[in-house]
Point group: none
Chain length 421, copies 2
């Protein structure tokens, strides 16, 4: 089986938005053994959309379309599909009701414009959208099964996973490609690459590759087999080998985040945490509370951004700040220690640094961040330089990830030894 | 003039790498008035590449190709282009020397494989690559000018800016397409669409369209003119009309965020802000400090996640929490009022809600959020229901955006009238 992926939208064709749907879909198709002949992006223009649908349906077994199902005048996928099928759009009153009740659940009445989303090409079938108002469309045209899905990634992904993938998987039978990603933090991509160099050779099955994003290195493993069991077995052997070599650099797999890993360790150990932040401005508290059930371990965060706030809320002596500067080892230490004591938590994180773009000096450049971690055994402060080639947002993200990772490693050391800088 | 963009590479077709080249090129083409008919991505397979080149050359004035010019066996763009042109590849010895000297400059000798990069379809012209080994190719085929460029973004961009853009700009003779996006918050896409329905009709210049992402509705305006001045004038007239209709729903343009808008208003007014958060867990503090120079207006954030933290840090009476629940109008009010008083800021935001997925009841469902905003005139609390079709992360983002937007509107009311729920 092979597929063509069409993405519809002038914001995509004009390059204002980068299409991530097509790549995501191509990966999912690979997992069920469906090859991709091409991706095509066209703007909100009915004739080109229709032509691309017709052409694709002459070539591929499966045509996946994303976008152009919204309620406004520039959403033309359903019209183009009907034109390609040579049929009319038909209003399905029961789907008007579904859309109406979607709005009603949110305490709103349905704008009249949304009724068009209940129109479908004659002979096609609606696909339910559980996260938005635009139903998808399933149709047959030429030799192809056609699936039109919303362009909003979350809605599209949910619809694909729930309805489209099972329908496709049923038809493919046989060869299976499965994938996993091991997420690492604490070393660079080339360092990690060197440790698994031999596993990354071309032609190997499973294949192993790396990706890097905001300090997180993903080690991707793709395994191919004649059956799911065979592919799984091959994948597990390679995964074990990668884990053996990278050890605690690996914090999780697939969609697991550092927050997930830290949350799991805190809950398992029955431990609590609080945080005192300056340059990260609330980002670490946000990361710690990203995870459902975070009230089990997270007590409070103090975003003491101004110097006076550090003194008022955490009792950091004003002369300590005056003497060493707010971005200093002693201030970071005082922040975490006070935070832990005042909130009565097992652990406390403190962060102070210069996120830029202003405020750097030769002595204390943009990207300099002190991270403190206090527990019953004491408080350890580490100094980090996140490099002035990163922008403000990236420095803040990197500092937050580093703090989360320090907490993760401390938690993994299980009550561990006393530590003092 | 119009263009088709082809990107070549199995890593793109398989979705392992997201194609950013096509979007970047589309934006550059728009700047010089070249419209984009479509983008097409195909894998490293000679026949499909050839077919896409032939098809594109029958339709567009310009065909831009990226990728497939490397030295390895899976790089097939030059062969496919030669096949489409019906000519042979010809070795140009002077380009072998150029490639050899590229390596020599880096203290390396040229691998034999790289010699193929000095082969070009007969009748085509090489384009110099100053950052890599792969020269580009310029050719004519059918009605089209064809430019093949490397897939490495840095090399492609440099080649486009230096050689391709000037050649194209020369031909367009002035026609210009310019674009802007007006970012809105506070109404849905269909509500906004209805207010500018007539401006969104097809065939109009400028064109107007909408996009939606996390509650932010972007109104895109694209204007086409024979000169930059003409395009600008048309765009301004439409922008003015959109602004007249949407008023304060519009918070900024292009890449401006709600944080930027709020920061600008706070700085302009010389005002300060603090925040007391529960369910958003630090996200609002993070948003307020996203902007460089935020120390001018942001004092402190209290992430009082646990009930005891609300009492300890903000003095919210424990019996108020016991009587009304932590997620309630009186608790939200107490949070903002205490936060403003303790931090001595002009404004304070308080947020308490249920981000889920657990913790909802029939009475207080997941997605219920109270947002309070205190200033000298009093404190107003609003109740929001973000809909249980949103996930935890989205509810938190939406609550933070709504709080930022309430602050924005209050700041725009310029000291305004007293307000109390």
């Amino acid at each position: 089986m092979d597929a063509i992926i069409l993405s519809i939208g002038s914001e995509l064709a004009l390059g204002e938005t980068i299409d991530t749907n097509s790549a995501w879909l191509a990966q999912r198709l690979a997992e069920i053994g469906v090859g991709v002949l091409r991706h095509v992006t066209v703007g909100d223009d009915i004739e080109p959309i229709r032509r691309q649908i017709e052409q694709a349906c002459g070539e591929a077994d499966v045509v996946l379309i994303t976008g152009g199902l919204g309620p406004t005048a520039d959403d033309l996928t359903r019209q183009a599909l009907a034109a390609a099928m040579g049929v009319e759009l038909v209003l399905r009153p029961e789907w008007v009701e579904k859309i109406r009740s979607f709005f009603a659940c949110r305490g709103r009445s349905m704008p009249q414009a949304n009724a068009i989303q209940a129109q479908f090409p004659a002979g096609s079938e609606p696909i339910e959208n559980t996260c938005g108002t635009a139903p998808g469309i399933r149709a047959s045209l030429g030799r192809s099964m056609v699936f039109a899905m919303p362009g909003v990634p979350r809605e599209m992904r949910e619809m694909f996973e729930r309805d489209v993938r099972p329908m496709l998987a049923e038809r493919t039978g046989g060869a299976v490609l499965i994938a996993t990603v091991l997420n690492c933090f604490g070393a660079g991509e080339s360092d990690i690459g060197q440790q698994i160099d031999d596993l990354m050779q071309r032609g190997r099955n499973p294949t192993v590759g790396t990706t890097a994003k905001q300090g997180v290195i993903g080690v991707r493993i793709h395994s191919r087999g004649r059956s799911a069991a065979e592919a799984r077995k091959l994948l597990e052997a390679t995964e074990q080998e990668v884990r053996r070599r990278l050890g605690t650099l690996i914090y999780g797999r697939d969609s697991e985040t550092l927050s997930d890993a830290v949350a799991r360790l805190l809950v398992e150990g029955g431990k609590t945490v609080s945080v005192a932040e300056s340059c990260t401005g609330g980002l670490i508290a946000k990361r710690l509370t990203d995870v459902p059930g975070s009230s089990r371990y997270f007590r409070a965060g103090l975003v003491t951004y101004a110097n006076e706030a550090k003194t008022m809320w955490l009792g950091v002596p004003a002369d300590l700040i005056a003497g060493h500067g707010a971005v200093s080892e002693p201030v970071a230490r005082a922040m975490a220690e006070a935070c832990r004591r005042l909130n009565a938590t097992d652990y406390a994180i403190g962060v102070t640094g210069i996120a830029g773009p202003e405020g750097g000096t030769a002595d204390k450049p943009v990207g300099l961040v002190f991270i403190s971690l206090a527990d019953a055994a004491g408080c350890r402060v580490t100094r980090h330089l996140f490099g002035d080639f990163l922008n403000r947002g990236e420095i803040r993200e990197r500092a937050a990830s580093t703090a989360m990772n320090l907490l993760r490693l401390r938690l993994m050391a299980r009550g561990g030894q006393a530590c003092s800088a």
